[in-house]
């Protein structure tokens, strides 16, 4: 196929990733993870709204260490994806679009999401 010969703008396999690239790839990884997390949240919502007994069963289930770990993991992906998404919206407004601004923004995303992930851990446990 002729498409194989098409030029590639940036071959990310051949370059060293800057901090902004890590911020970007983590946004993608967390997004894919959240697609599966949405199924878990729907399952929790379904159970908790099915009946009084279903609500208690979900509450009981969420007490187990494994369930807490899973929920914390899902909330961590959500926290990161949320913060990185806010950065996108801010950059859409023309703020932080320079090279230095992009690096600062990526660092801010990491700091803010670590804080939120720790708070989520405190909340879950």
């Amino acid at each position: 196929m002729t498409t194989k010969k098409r030029p590639v703008n940036l071959d990310i396999g051949t370059i060293q990733l800057p901090i902004t690239a890590y911020a970007s790839i983590l946004h993608r990884i967390s997004g894919v993870a959240l697609f599966f997390a949405a199924g878990i949240f729907l399952w929790v919502l379904d159970g908790s709204l099915s009946s009084s007994a279903g609500f208690d069963a979900i509450k009981e289930c969420l007490q187990s260490p494994l369930a807490k770990l899973v929920i914390w993991g899902c909330l961590s992906f959500l926290a990161y994806h949320f913060v990185a998404g806010i950065r996108h919206l801010i950059m859409d407004m023309g703020v932080g679009e320079s090279l230095e601004g992009g690096r600062t923004g990526a660092k801010l995303v990491f700091v803010c999401s670590v804080v939120l992930i720790l708070l989520a851990g405190v909340w879950v446990w």
Partner: protein
């Protein structure tokens, strides 16, 4: 553009806007639900059910479910068309990508139907 035939809005600009609007809906819902659960530590079934029986809450939840659907479609389309390509994975990439895209769309459809089933079954 043949390459964007499976994208959500058939146009990059349209996808760009839909991605942002759906993100704001999901962000608002996430903040609301987390705040609600943090502020109501002793939540019981009756209170939880009453919240979800309230029509504006049903609309908010359904808007979020639809936002998840379109946001996931656009996001996963970007990921799949970037990485599951002939350049990175060889000749079988196109077939694999089509299978993954169909699977993704079926999962998204299932999520939306499931969400409607939960919300209107209360």
């Amino acid at each position: 553009m043949v390459t964007s035939v499976t994208s959500f809005g058939r146009s990059g600009l349209s996808d760009w806007l839909i991605q942002r609007v759906s993100a704001v809906v999901m962000a608002a819902y996430s903040v609301f639900i987390v705040a609600y659960l943090v502020l109501n530590p002793g939540l019981d079934y009756e209170q939880w059910r009453a919240l979800h029986q309230f029509l504006p809450m049903k609309i908010f939840s359904l808007a979020t479910a639809v936002s998840i659907a379109v946001h996931a479609w656009i996001g996963l389309w970007s990921v799949l068309t970037d990485y599951v390509t002939e350049r990175l994975m060889g000749a079988k990439a196109t077939a694999l990508r089509v299978i993954l895209q169909v699977g993704m769309i079926l999962a998204i459809l299932a999520y939306v139907v499931w969400a409607i089933d939960i919300l209107w079954g209360i």
